[in-house]
């Protein structure tokens, strides 16, 4: 039999049950991606005799004698297919993991399909872009610009890897093959809480190809935290690589290592585990009650109250809360809850480890190779120089990869066997074993004077950290952002992070601020209604302003400074935009229309330690090499770092060669999270580039005998007054004098600024079915100085889209025994193209930042105001307040129908217009 791929014949034979996706990858076509492995996401799209198909659900043998075309077959860097060029130039990607599938789908569209993109694109999921960029790409709209030398900042230049991404050449973690590589698969706990009585490996080890079966007895008995922070003391050491107690359905129990995935899977099925099931608790309030099942012992002093499963608690009181309520004219109190949701980055977790000259090498999908390296060194008692961790391009993160949950097992197996080891998560494992957002329930009590001035601000937050405490404490602290946004002399914040027998929470875009933002911004909207004050006006009267201290939990020295009135400007921009678009008619009879807004503020770097180092070197090839630890997973920091370096060195991005995310080749970097990739690592890049620039100028000035102030950088040389030296001459001169144009600089996440934003929605709600349609979406953000306008727009659009998913459709459905019943992208519904409106992205004019060139990251905080703005719009449309997410039709309709009977005409402006 013969298989023809991209015009080339192959004699290899697929296995009987093999799908075309893995067969094509085994032949070296790594552009064919796995997002879901189930026909839902489209990342694996290829053409079979010219027809696009999902290769993951196509039996491989059916390609026999037919022509298969993959992303690599339609174009290459320098010879792009028109659709590849359109995706590059729109740009129509961020992380780039869905891109090959998007291109292979779009490039096959008929004209009729192009007219109906919601239908045509429904088999392709993108988690990063919010689809506007993809729509532009399909329609051939370009958004990129070329930077003049020294003018890269402020220009929408393309991502350094763009050509590789759109041609399927960009390497992600799994896009490689190592001879002799073993595969690791995991047995998961079927019980929410159980002790392991015994594990019989015999039958598993008898499976041909199975090499090892690892249990809790085979791993270093060291507790650690999977959470990634520079300071590991901010998280509890409560996790073993493999444990003899399981605390949630899905927890790893056994790891099977085999020659093939097939043998490893069979080995997993043959492992005989005997469990002693013990009582489980799923609700954090129940877990805190006397007599509740206890998840963890008293071995970790971090845990505040192990008997009551309280991992961490915060109690702060500023001013006099009782006095504040006593002087209030109006008091509003409500309880708001946010459910468990997931990142659903298109690339699943995965790592490959091998030994090289006695050193452990780990290639992984992580947001921080530096911290992952430190954890592996600790777990396996290795010197830091014995470990290398690096990332190729990463297919989306959103905080999900701020966690060491695949590197440990491959390291264990590679150190044990000396052979290369691969561990790749399935999509189901993403949902049932990787981290999620912490479900939080917040009770917000606000007191205000009749003019809207807040007199008392009280919040009780109960966060469900799940079975382990990774990020449990830090997310609880972060929730203070929703309290610090408003000035109020009397504040009280009580918060609990509680262990339960559920999947652990973790870091997710918004990081503990999203849930409190939903609560506080909903409560402010309700307060505004009670006071008969416009919700935006109520905010204007209470928001923090320049010169105010940001007071959340303590009133003392701090490193966050507000220098400009960014939040007020955001509010004004959204107010104008909402007023301007106020005249759109409802979609038809039966629809209620309403508008809602919400705001948030976000510190530009985390309060914990965040450090980054950058190296800049002018090479003999006259290219500047920029080495920085930051990983690229679609957040766009690589583009920004290159722009900053080019800007300072007077050159263009094409002359900057980026080396990144490799502990052997770059300096330390805490990681790309908390928007610190730009704010912290960008500052390191700026300083290193400035240092190299200054060295070059100093040498040129000295050589030409001119004052330094007379000299400036050009793209290929230095100009000093009316004299000029080329970079080639300067490099030769430097070499002769033993000088090197190279510099390393570190940056630190302090002092910090704030990013602020405001979101507005106008929605229609069907009064019978409960369906919500978004008619208009706008977000204003204070990005200060913008490095790359197209990227800023794309990040906000993507964050709003993800926020819409978290608000309107996404939810972990969990059964009575604690097992998730929808662990796939077919039933856990992240937004498709059809679900997402275009969002107007408005930038305030500001330079309020301690970031590089007064820039700051905006990719994280944009998600925070989305849910409350939608809930507030829903209230405005229907007169009914919904205080629990998600806002799905089946949760909405019943209360609307009560309204239809009791209250035929809702008392709100939009509905009155409708009923005329």
């Amino acid at each position: 039999m013969t298989y023809v791929v991209n015009g080339k014949s192959f004699d290899e034979e697929p296995a009987p049950g093999q799908c075309l996706r893995t067969f094509l990858r085994s032949l070296g076509h790594y552009g064919v991606k796995k997002g879901c492995d189930a026909g839902d996401c489209g990342a694996c799209t290829v053409w079979l005799d010219g027809d696009p198909i999902h290769s993951c659900i196509t039996p491989a043998y059916r390609a026999e004698g037919r022509e298969v075309t993959t992303i690599e077959g339609i174009g290459s860097p320098g010879e792009l297919h028109p659709m590849q060029r359109q995706f590059r130039d729109a740009p129509g990607f961020q992380c780039g993991f869905c891109t090959a599938g998007m291109i292979m789908t779009s490039a096959a569209f008929t004209e009729t399909q192009k007219e109906n993109l919601p239908q045509a694109l429904k088999g392709n999921l993108c988690r990063c872009t919010g689809y506007r960029g993809i729509e532009d790409a399909v329609k051939g709209v370009a958004g990129l610009a070329t930077a003049a030398p020294g003018k890269a900042v402020g220009t929408s230049v393309g991502a350094p890897a763009a050509d590789d991404v759109v041609t399927g050449r960009a390497e992600f973690t799994m896009d490689t093959h190592i001879e002799g590589m073993l595969h690791l698969k995991v047995v998961h706990s079927p019980h929410a809480h159980a002790r392991i009585v015994s594990i019989d490996k015999t039958a598993a080890l008898a499976v041909p190809g199975v090499q090892r079966v690892y249990t809790w007895e085979d791993v270093p008995r060291k507790r650690f935290t999977t959470a990634i922070h520079t300071d590991h003391l901010v998280d509890p050491d409560d996790t073993f690589i493999l444990d003899n107690t399981v605390r949630f359905v899905g927890q790893r129990v056994v790891a099977v290592l085999a020659d093939t995935v097939r043998a490893a899977e069979e080995g997993c099925r043959r492992v005989d585990v005997e469990y002693e099931v013990i009582p489980a608790v799923f609700d954090p309030e129940e877990a805190m009650a006397d007599g509740a099942p206890q998840l963890h012992g008293a071995h970790d002093s971090f845990v505040r109250d192990p008997v009551h499963n309280i991992l961490f608690e915060i109690h702060s009181h500023i001013g006099d809360i009782d006095a504040g309520f006593a002087e209030a004219d109006v008091i509003h109190e409500g309880t708001y809850s946010s459910p468990r949701v997931q990142h659903a980055h298109l690339e699943t977790h995965g790592s490959i480890a091998w030994m090289d000259n006695g050193r452990l090498n780990v290639r992984t999908s992580s947001q921080s190779p530096s911290i992952a390296k430190g954890k592996l060194a600790y777990l396996f008692a290795l010197r830091p120089d014995q470990v290398r961790v690096f990332c190729k391009r990463v297919g989306g993160g959103f905080g999900g990869k701020q966690e060491v949950i695949s590197e440990d097992l491959v390291a264990l197996a590679a150190l044990d066997t000396g052979r290369p080891v691969c561990f790749e998560y399935t999509r189901e494992e993403e949902f049932t074993t990787a981290s999620t957002r912490h479900p939080m329930t917040l009770t917000v009590k606000l007191g205000a004077k009749a003019d809207g001035t807040l007199t008392a601000f009280q919040v009780r937050n109960v966060s469900n950290t799940g079975a382990y405490g990774n990020h449990g404490g830090e997310t609880l602290h972060a929730g203070g952002a929703a309290v610090m946004i408003y000035r109020c002399p009397n504040k009280k914040y009580d918060a609990f992070s509680v262990y339960t027998n559920t999947i652990p929470g973790g870091a997710l875009r918004g990081y503990g601020m999203t849930q409190p933002a939903f609560a506080v911004e909903s409560a402010m909207d309700e307060l505004a209604r009670t006071l008969h004050i416009d919700p935006l006006e109520l905010r204007r009267r209470n928001i923090v302003r320049p010169g105010d201290l940001l007071v959340a939990m303590h009133d003392g020295p701090e490193d966050v400074v507000i220098a400009e009135d960014g939040l007020a400007k955001c509010i004004d921009l959204v107010a104008d935009a909402m007023a301007r678009t106020d005249n759109e008619p409802p979609p038809g009879s039966g629809w209620l229309v309403g508008a809602g807004v919400a705001s948030s503020v976000h510190e530009t770097a985390p309060p914990t330690e965040h450090i980054s180092e950058a190296w800049v070197t002018l090479g003999d090839d006259l290219m500047y090499e920029l080495a920085v630890g930051t990983v690229e997973f679609g957040e766009g920091t690589s583009t920004a770092h290159v722009q900053i370096a080019a800007n300072q060195l007077g050159t263009t991005p094409s002359r900057i060669r980026l080396v990144q995310s490799d502990t052997d080749r770059t300096g330390f970097d805490t990681g790309a999270f908390a928007s610190a990739g730009l704010f912290v690592a960008g500052n390191a890049v700026l300083r290193a580039a400035n240092a190299v620039r200054d060295r070059i100028l100093e040498l040129a000035a000295a050589h030409m005998g001119v004052r330094l102030a007379m000299c400036s950088m050009e793209e290929t040389g230095v100009v000093c007054g009316d004299q000029r030296m080329s970079l080639a001459e300067l490099v030769a001169l430097a070499r002769a004098r033993g000088v090197r144009f190279t510099a390393a600089r570190k940056a630190y996440g302090s002092p910090r600024s704030v990013t602020s934003n405001t979101q507005g929605f106008r929605i229609a709600v069907h009064r019978v079915t409960g369906e919500i349609r978004i008619l208009y979406s706008v977000q204003a953000t204070d990005a200060a100085v913008v490095i790359n306008p197209a990227q800023v727009r794309g990040q906000v659009e993507g964050g709003v889209a993800q926020g819409i998913g978290f608000t309107l459709t996404e939810n972990h459905h969990v059964d009575a025994d604690g097992a998730m019943s929808n662990p796939n992208l077919r039933n856990y519904r992240i937004p498709t193209y059809a679900d997402i409106p275009r969002t107007d992205v408005l930038l305030v004019d500001s330079a309020d930042s301690f970031g590089p060139l007064r820039s700051k990251g905006i990719a994280e905080c944009c998600i925070n105001p989305v849910a409350p703005a939608l809930a507030n719009a829903l209230h405005d449309a229907t007169g009914v307040r919904y205080r629990a997410l998600p806002l799905t039709p089946e949760r909405i309709y019943s209360r609307l129908n009560q309204l239809n009977e009791d209250q035929p005409v809702p008392r709100n402006r939009a509905a009155e217009e409708l009923s005329e």
Partner: protein, 275 residues
């Protein structure tokens, strides 16, 4: 995904397959569902597409659809003007959660045999009063009413080794007037409810097919168009346990939507709405 327990594929089965049916066997048509989830109990795939059954055979008697007819072929066949087929066939194909790329492989019979409540080919064929021809491994055949085929969520009357060979839609059904309503929790998501009402031309009857919201299709037939109250009551008597609970909808909401859309269908057909 790779189905790693599969050890054999029968790529060219005999014209009347099933004689050597054994445990661990499964029929393979498009494979789009089969390959979308783990199948640890399966060992052998028997490829029915190799039999090249005629996909679509229109005749005076009606329309015969081979079970391995792809959704793409059905969608292409469904031109406006071919009786009500033009609208209902198109809408039923578009009711798939899956993309047009899946339609290139997925089959009508595969969707019916998967027997999910939201299977739009079930909705379509029950509404059009189709019969199914089933082939048993012993060489015998039987014909069943489409309504009786699906018995619950992912459950049907097929015995081990039995094959759905063909779907026959009678010409009289193809000539009927029809109205349909569908609701999904996401914009183009999987059906929460999918209802089709049909009416004989020149008559005032109503056949209402309720699917997706129920674990099996429910058909409610009236010789003359019922009043609103009667129609609502006919839905109220659907047993509690038939309303389906899954991530695509709750039983309460599904009953509520069904009653709402049933009334819309009634009004549309009474008003002589779209044929």
């Amino acid at each position: 995904m790779d189905l790693n327990t599969i050890t054999e594929v029968v790529r060219r089965p005999s014209g009347r397959p099933g004689a050597d049916w054994r445990e661990g066997d499964t029929w393979l048509a498009g494979g789009t569902w089969l390959f979308s989830t783990e199948q640890p109990s399966l060992r052998r795939l028997i490829d029915l597409t190799a039999l090249h059954w005629d996909p679509l055979v229109p005749s005076d008697a009606g329309l015969e659809i081979g079970a391995t007819c792809t959704i793409r072929d059905l969608y292409a066949f469904a031109r406006p003007g071919v009786g009500i087929a033009g609208t209902l066939f198109t809408k039923s194909c578009e009711a798939f959660l899956s993309s047009f790329k899946v339609w290139n492989s997925a089959t009508v019979g595969g969707n019916i045999c998967l027997s999910l409540p939201a299977g739009p080919m079930i909705t379509l064929t029950v509404a059009l009063e189709a019969t199914y021809e089933l082939w048993a491994p012993d060489g015998s055949a039987r014909t069943v009413d489409a309504l009786d085929f699906v018995t619950g969520d992912n459950q049907n009357i097929l015995t081990p080794g039995e094959i759905l060979r063909r779907i026959d839609i009678p010409a009289r059904a193809l000539r009927k007037r029809a109205a349909h309503r569908r609701f999904t929790l996401t914009r183009l998501g999987r059906s929460t409810v999918f209802l089709i009402g049909t009416q004989t031309p020149g008559a005032s009857d109503l056949v209402l097919t309720v699917t997706a919201g129920t674990t099996r299709p429910v058909r409610i037939a009236f010789d003359t168009m019922p009043d609103a109250r009667t129609l609502q009551q006919s839905i109220d008597v659907i047993p509690e346990e038939v309303w389906f609970a899954d991530p695509n909808g709750t039983p309460d909401h599904r009953r509520h939507l069904t009653k709402h859309f049933a009334e819309e269908i009634r009004r549309e057909l009474m008003a002589g709405g779209p044929a």
